[in-house]
């Protein structure tokens, strides 16, 4: 097996392929979420309508990691869930990508949910969001709005969601979700 040492050089090179605006990987604490959200607000002051969508989507993605990532670290007695969020830009779009480790049991659930969301038009998505809020229960596992969060992300971006899974071991997979927001809305 090759050295376990993390190659910062490869990490740097792979991020350099994209036009990166913000990139974070690590414990997703509430303070980090707040600081990145402030940075987004500041950076998009000249493109406020797109900027607000990016802000809202970032908050949902960050909260998904905060509540549901199955990888965590303990620092100073507090446990933080780990994940990554990258905001980059292409010619016409901003792209938000979030990644974290999930238990494999969630793969079919997430996969079906995204397929369903991508197959629906806006009216149907709005109806689905309403129905899930109307019947959903609060404060049980995976009901802090995660399912509704994905629908809201699709509605806010108004573009398809793309997802990717990579097996880590028998029980865990890496899950990445990517969504675009048009520039200068």
């Amino acid at each position: 097996m090759s050295s376990k040492k993390f190659s910062f050089f490869h990490h740097y090179l792979s991020l350099s392929d994209e036009d990166v605006i913000i990139s974070y990987k690590g414990p997703m604490s509430d303070v980090i979420i707040h600081e990145i959200s402030k940075e987004i607000q500041a950076k998009f002051a000249q493109d406020p309508k797109s900027g607000k969508k990016i802000y809202s989507i970032f908050m949902e993605l960050a909260q998904n990691i905060f509540f549901y990532s199955s990888e965590s670290t303990t620092l100073g007695g507090n446990t933080y869930r780990i994940g990554s969020i990258v905001l980059s830009q292409e010619s016409d779009n901003y792209v938000l990508t979030a990644g974290n480790i999930v238990d494999k049991k969630w793969i079919p659930v997430l996969w079906d949910k995204c397929e369903m969301i991508n197959s629906m038009d806006r009216e149907a998505l709005r109806k689905l969001k309403f129905e899930q809020k109307d019947t959903g229960e609060m404060s049980t596992e995976n009901s802090k709005g995660a399912g509704i969060g994905l629908i809201q992300i699709a509605l806010t971006s108004a573009q398809p969601i793309s997802i990717e899974f990579r097996d880590i071991n028998d029980n865990k997979s890496f899950f990445a979700l990517s969504v675009s927001v048009k520039k200068n809305l």
């Binding site: 969001k129 309403f130 109307d134």
Partner: protein, 127 residues
């Protein structure tokens, strides 16, 4: 019945300002809503409205005036609107206003959906 007043705070989390006046029936939730424990925050708010509908029974003029909220907060807004509809269906007088920044279609659509799917009147007011 006592008024319910919660000051808005913007720090790591965002607490909206809540002013519920039991004498006038003027109620408002203003600002941004993103909380450490959403349900903990909104439970007493729903409790206040329930008590108002049972004990005070005078007209309610309820205003949502939010510039940002996360999806867990919006779940609680729906619970509030449903509670107001219940009061209306029981004979209470209810006016609901939903203010939104003019360029924010996502916040406007939220109110349109409550209006259409719950079949309740909401004044949607862009500013």
């Amino acid at each position: 019945m006592e008024n319910l007043i919660i000051e808005g705070v913007k720090s790591t989390y965002f607490t909206p300002q809540v002013i519920f006046n039991a004498e006038t029936g003027e109620c408002s939730i203003t600002g941004e809503s993103y909380l450490e424990d959403t349900w903990d925050f909104y439970r007493p708010i729903l409790g206040w409205l329930k008590q108002f509908a049972e004990e005070v029974k005078t007209p309610v003029n309820f205003t949502f005036d939010l510039t940002y909220y996360n999806t867990s907060s919006s779940k609680c807004f729906l619970d509030i609107v449903k509670q107001l509809k219940e009061y209306q269906d029981a004979g209470g007088s209810v006016v609901i206003n939903w203010k939104h920044p003019e360029d924010d279609d996502d916040i406007r659509e939220e109110a349109e959906d409550y209006k259409n799917f719950l079949n309740i009147d909401i004044n949607i007011i862009p500013y």
